[in-house]
Symmetry: C2
Subunit: 419 residues, 2 copies
């Protein structure tokens, strides 16, 4: 029988084992992460599931079913440094609880195969590139880029993963794990304040935002702060600064289309050269991160930002150039699974609510690989994650495990019917 309180107890046990006064310390490819993984194995073993790590270091626990077709339940036990107690491991430990329920209910032989996967290095905290294990599994990993990654001590990713039994050149072999995958579900804390503001414990995730990430550089002319009249300045900071209120307008307009779901735009950093108190700024570089669930709306947001930057540059007699840092298309989840998640939430006594995910998740990689996918969010207190103050009410955690289990149950029967 499902015991959501046990999941909360497991979470607390993991926190004691792998956290300190600054928060969770389960950075992938570190001894603390390896300890967490060993502990996870000890929790799964009693269910009788077959356990192995794949070529990319992803941990798989499989309860073979009457059908080979498999429901995948995914999470990640790795964390950022000084992280929260829920991000990633909630999913994995809710999955462990569901394996326990299913092993018990079906005496080890469910109608379809049920697999827990603990992805390897979702956060990318050490090497700066997230979704290592899931992108290897989906086949979308950029081998050349990833091969070149080093941590801040200069240690290469390829050497670090080797210490954990991973041959980097073979990580894409993990793709074979998806061969019989029929559905993928993932529970996660929201990491934002939407459910909190609505007073709702749970939400169904429609997909993950597409992202356009650019560096924008304005170039003017350094000039003495005392001797240069205001109307003679070519002030790179002035042009860059005007972008900040502008992106709020652009984001606002992006929510006025047919979907009514707006995007977000963020200027996360600003650097100035020469950057001294006595000179007009010659060069100002800002980063712009734009996200939207609708590909056309995302493109419109980008176009509008480019047009605005050119207008501000022209008005200020400075130059502007754009450089793409990274982008990804929006990834939409499976409509049938979305309906099942809504139903599971209702059945648990909560009000269903659909929302997009701003952050990326392993679920997006698996959806890109063609596996029908959905995620469920549970409310975050403070709307904050990647921080030791990250938290969720225990009653909401328990409700989340209950609803997520009902989603698993519906998915199992859905897969079974399709077989």
């Amino acid at each position: 029988m499902l015991n959501p309180k046990r999941t909360v107890a497991d979470l607390k046990e993991l926190r004691s084992l792998t956290g300190d006064q600054n928060g969770a310390q389960r950075v992938a490819f570190t001894p603390t992460w390896a300890r967490a993984r060993k502990w996870l194995r000890s929790k799964v073993e009693p269910t009788g599931a077959e356990i192995h790590n794949d070529a990319a270091g992803n941990f798989w626990a499989t309860l073979g079913g009457k059908s080979e077709k498999a429901l995948l339940i995914g999470g990640h036990i790795d964390s950022v440094p000084n992280g929260g107690w829920l991000d990633g491991c909630l999913n994995t430990l809710a999955g462990v609880e569901i394996l326990r329920r299913i092993a018990d209910q079906y005496k080890g032989k469910p109608p379809v195969t049920v697999r827990l996967v603990d992805w390897c290095d979702e956060e990318g905290a050490r090497f700066g590139k997230s979704l290592f294990g899931s992108s290897a599994c989906s086949g979308k990993i950029d081998m050349d880029e990833t091969r070149g990654l080093k941590d801040k001590d200069g240690i290469r990713l390829v050497d670090a993963v080797k210490e954990h039994g991973i041959d980097f050149e073979k990580v894409k072999d993990s793709g074979k794990e998806l061969k019989s995958a029929a559905a993928y579900i993932e529970l996660h804390i929201e990491q934002g304040p939407v459910l909190l503001d609505l007073g709702l414990p749970l939400g169904t995730v429609l997909g993950t935002f597409g992202v356009e990430r650019h560096a924008i550089t304005f170039r003017g002319q350094a000039a003495h702060s005392g001797s240069t009249p205001m109307n003679r300045r070519r002030d790179a900071f002035l042009a860059a600064a005007k972008m900040s209120p502008e992106i709020y307008e652009i984001a606002k307009r992006s929510g006025q289309g047919p979907s009514r779901t707006g995007g977000v735009c963020t200027i996360g950093s600003c650097t100035t050269k020469p950057g001294i108190v006595t000179s007009v700024v010659e060069e100002c570089r800002i980063t712009l991160d734009q996200r939207h669930l609708d590909a056309d709306a995302l493109q419109r947001m980008l176009d509008e930002a480019k047009t605005a930057s050119e207008r501000f540059a022209k008005n200020g007699n400075v130059d502007v150039s754009w450089e793409r840092i990274w982008n990804i298309e929006p990834i939409l989840f499976n409509n049938e699974l979305i309906a099942m998640a809504d139903a599971a939430i209702s059945e648990s006594g909560a009000k269903p609510h659909r929302l997009p995910s701003g952050p990326l998740h392993d679920a997006a990689e698996i959806a890109r690989a063609g596996v029908p996918t959905v995620m469920m969010f549970v409310q975050s207190l403070h709307g904050i994650s990647h921080n030791k103050i990250e938290d969720t009410k225990e009653e909401h955690l328990e409700l989340a495990v209950t609803a997520f289990d009902k989603l698993a149950d519906r998915a199992i029967h859905w897969i079974g019917r399709g077989d």
Copy 2:
């Protein structure tokens, strides 16, 4: 007889001796600067002037007159690294030419004493604090602050100056050099584009701007760029960015008072924390440099900037704090000497024009010490200095030497009449 072409030749000789392909390298307290000083002595000796260095390393060349009352002609031969060929040394070498003319004309005994002073370390390029020699002479030097200065290699100022014969603890003894000073005049390149824009070769300087220099820090909340709705953000960069167009408005209004001479405001640097592409900015620090010739107008500019920062902070639900980095009051030059400078410019065939000085100069220190002071500016091409492209037309350099000499002549007679 005055020979302005000789001054241009001297400037070129100094450039060959102490510059390289990147510009002038006469940074104070370096071997190149010492070489320039030695060369300067060789240029002055033929005039028969008494030469000595004072306690702060300022170089004095004195033609004793019938009266002890002295006209001081000041400049600085030190430069920034990769500096221009005129900043500072034009003054000194124009002064050398005037000494030659006076020694020749009066057979070594002018009506009043005439003294050339080459100030020690005007630029402060090595230790980050300008006006070393002139502030020691005026007595306004901050001994405690200056005593603690180190260069980028960790060498202490007190040790570096010792190598050039200066006992740091005694630098204020140089103040006695001002005992008989009756007027101080200084010629300098404008370092800005005002005369260039007006098509005028020369200008009379009304005084140096007062300066208010602050760091302004806005503090909001770091939040995930994907999961945080726009209306939930406490974006420190947004509030800081709004200051940029605002300071242009503030500067504009500051020129609409009775004086009609506007001030300038500059945001020279911007730093963001955490400063990553995926987070709303939690903390944004900008520097604000404000300058005006009128003390009340400067105070108004500061008040307006503070009020605006508080409004932007409130609107954006962030905090703001101000920290003063440095300030100095406006320093107004002597009205009679200003009139003489206008007359000298007219007499040389140019149109007089009065303007404030944005940058500080040694002249400001001497004016603060109570010596009647004026400066004359010569047009800068490109409006740029502290750069190897700094330049002035040779015909304007020659005209400047001519007009500056006429100013010296008028000042000598003015001092003589007052005696």
